[in-house]
Symmetry: D2
């Protein structure tokens, strides 16, 4: 399905300030970027880097004093593979590719090491595989309140496990922590999210599982707020620390970001899929 | 039922060291101290204080250098009131005696303020009263592993809520936190505990509830390790900070405490009571 | 010196809601209440309790639905004893009155048990007594930023020790924690604070020390924001958990509290005192 | 200087258990591996991976039930560049290579986001560059007690900042956190450490700085326990989570690891260097 999407970011800059942005779509087999434009105003030199192990695209600029804006728009074809959830199992520790092991380690906001017993007691008896990851996401949906403003950028999964409230970022961190605690590699995904209301940058997770066509990363959204087959991925990371959409190196005033995504062609009204979504 | 109980504490003291002990039985309507002896060796001057609001009995001595031991033994008649659990309800906020409100406040190891949502989500729909306190204790028994050595004297309910392992002290702190978060005054009880195996100082909780004969404190043991009708109470407190059995003011070497309690008269083999135990 | 002071609290109440207030001046030898009036609108039955061990005065009412206001005003003579700081030393553990030991225990927001090494390393070599408590308050003033809004009602001394920002409540909790970690009983004091700008309920600390006229509680304000000889005390407590100025038992909308205090008679322009202030 | 080094690890394995090891020396310009042997007993198939962005060498095996040992020994020439510390400055945010930015992000054990004010208040006025990193390591050496057993594998820099005790791992995490909080990329280094007593795997840090010959990673050891010019590097990482020397996937019994390193050729008795050590 084809989508048009983008964001507008605006800043009031006092002194020349370096920024790193991560707002462009990742280049992945499952999402074909039909067209995209990035407009900086005032225009300025950009430095670009694509992280080899993730495909995340980072841009660095130094914004001059005054008003600075970034506008990104793109058209993208999303072609997630939809698979039978029951056919998606877990990958044994001996078979997880060594480069993927970093997604088993605890990270800043995903203290899987402190959540071992909670994860094992709560999900240890679930059917291994996509079913268990779904059980984790369902549990979070059912046991954590989605409430804006109760968490902040310092909030971590260890807090959310007990405080039981947060936003998409917190839901994702907790889901990732539970997966890792159970031996399932998991990572954080920032995305443009179709049907997310109100529109914003969204966060979901991917778990590394064994599918009918081989092992790979499977999407899950513990907030259930977006259409899972309408997630256009920006970045994947150990957790939110690595994929901030904007990192200014200095104090700046900023507008609330505008983020949008809409389906092109006839709007589909299918119910949310219950299939396993593989989105690489 | 009559019990014989006691403890032996031993220390190697290097310099004259003040100690505060809280090992003697509290004087309560529900437990009659038939006899008791406290032996200090070498003998030394004691200063005594009974906390008016709790009945806890504190002793302070200054131990001279060398070997120092404390032996306490007592015979006590425990006469807990056993009441129909369904007749024990909660006390409305407007009716909790003002002096009892301190047992609604969060304390060092019982961060009820951080556990509000978790408590409400997990126990909010339970039948108010003794049934809800029992549900809390059952949940802790079922969801937290009793494991010696995984926690220490710094461990608090906020940790245990996520780490899901601990000893009687941790179980009690978590149960107290849940009660307070739900508006039920709750306090920490240190006790000699019949049938606790291995024998040790034990910790349980009391919740302030409305019984058929008026409001009062009801016992509950989230570990289920002792006979609830064989708890001889030493101290009640906001949490463990206030009722350490021994507080040396200085570095000393110490023996593992010996603690014992046995029933006098014909040993009873009744099943654990399912009645509400009121132990004041 | 005589002061006129008071507060106005306003609420929009939806259903009958119990409140506990702690806004009236404590009755102490060092502060004589010349006159006071408490006005509730609509008028309603009050239940009163003065905590024996602290002198804190608590009022409970049940506010009916609609607009509810409390106005308190008082005239008070403050007669703090001013003593030579060098004559104020520490009380040995063996000599601290047993009832005062509760102010050595860690409490919810004052984790003195986790701050032992930090306290000992930072203040262990200071001259014991009022000088050490002053050193603690100076260190906090110099090392923690006073910033509204960076902390909240869940913030504790353990957070502030590292995050290094907070308001008067956080400053007091950290000072209390350091004192207790060093063996100095310390408690939280809520007060009407002369020259605090903007006016608000203030929080300072008291440490239990040995003065030239015997042991007692000495005031210190780590924020240095108020005139230390113009603190009219409302409540003393283990920490902020016990002396909230208002505790509604239910959801209510509230106005920002109005708090005021002014000196009666000729305004004095003396510099802040450097003497030890004993305020019981 | 040439060193002979190695380690012996022993396990009692109950069921076939996958292990990942990271004990072999990294292949770096500044350390030439003259020879090395890895002996597994019983011998078993190994899978190897060198992380491209770090050079860390990981080995995975599946140990059969029974006794399992790993022995590694190597000879290595360490040729660290020694530079004038005053010539080593910081790299501006606009100039840090984009791939290096991951070492500015907070990680599991290095919560630089929560340590911003503490870092800025304590080290903000230090001379930028190697001098500031040295000031950080000196501060940690002076303010944190090196005490075995007070921390564990869950301890993080946020804990150590207040608890003020730990081992090399904790010292490194705190130093890394302070560097990152100040905008200096920093990473964790596991190493064979000459003159460390008792011998063990050691942990130090590297900070990314601007040297006279270009930007690069500079070593610092906040424990001051090893000879800084005798560190043979095994792995570099965001923090300890990524470079465990052994990660069994399952419960096993293990021996205390034996680790050793000795200088070959005439033993040098020079005082510890005060030059900046660049060790890539």
């Amino acid at each position: 399905m084809r989508f048009s999407l983008g964001c507008s970011l605006g800043y009031d800059v006092k002194v020349p300030t370096p920024f790193v942005f991560n707002v462009e779509l990742a280049k992945l087999a499952s999402q074909t970027i039909v067209s995209e434009t990035l407009t900086l105003s005032p225009d300025c030199a950009t430095e670009r880097w694509t992280m080899p192990e993730t495909g995340n695209r980072y841009i660095r600029i130094t914004a001059p004093p005054g008003r600075f804006t970034l506008d990104y728009q793109a058209e993208v074809d999303l072609m997630p593979a939809l698979e039978d959830p029951d056919a998606v199992t877990e990958v044994a520790a001996a078979d997880i590719p060594l480069p993927t092991l970093v997604h088993l380690y605890p990270s800043r906001y995903c203290q899987s090491d402190k959540l071992q017993r909670l994860a094992n007691r709560t999900f240890g008896a679930e059917q291994p595989g996509y079913a268990r990851v779904t059980a984790i996401c369902n549990w979070i949906h059912d046991n954590v309140d989605y409430v804006g403003g109760v968490s902040d950028e310092l909030t971590s999964a260890f807090d959310t496990a007990t405080e039981r409230a947060g936003v998409c970022r917190d839901f994702a961190h907790l889901a990732i922590s539970f997966c890792r605690a159970l031996g399932i590699p998991a990572r954080y995904v920032s995305a443009y999210a179709w049907r997310l209301d109100p529109p914003d940058f969204h966060a979901v997770i991917e778990a590394y599982l064994q599918g009918p066509n081989g092992p790979g990363w499977y999407l899950c959204d513990p907030t259930r707020k977006a259409a899972a087959d309408g997630l256009a991925r920006i970045g994947v990371a150990r957790d939110a620390a690595e994929v901030a959409f904007a990192s200014p190196f200095g104090a700046v005033d900023y507008d609330k970001p505008e983020v949008w995504i809409r389906a092109l062609g006839p709007e589909q009204v299918e119910p949310p899929t219950t299939l396993a979504i593989r989105a690489e």
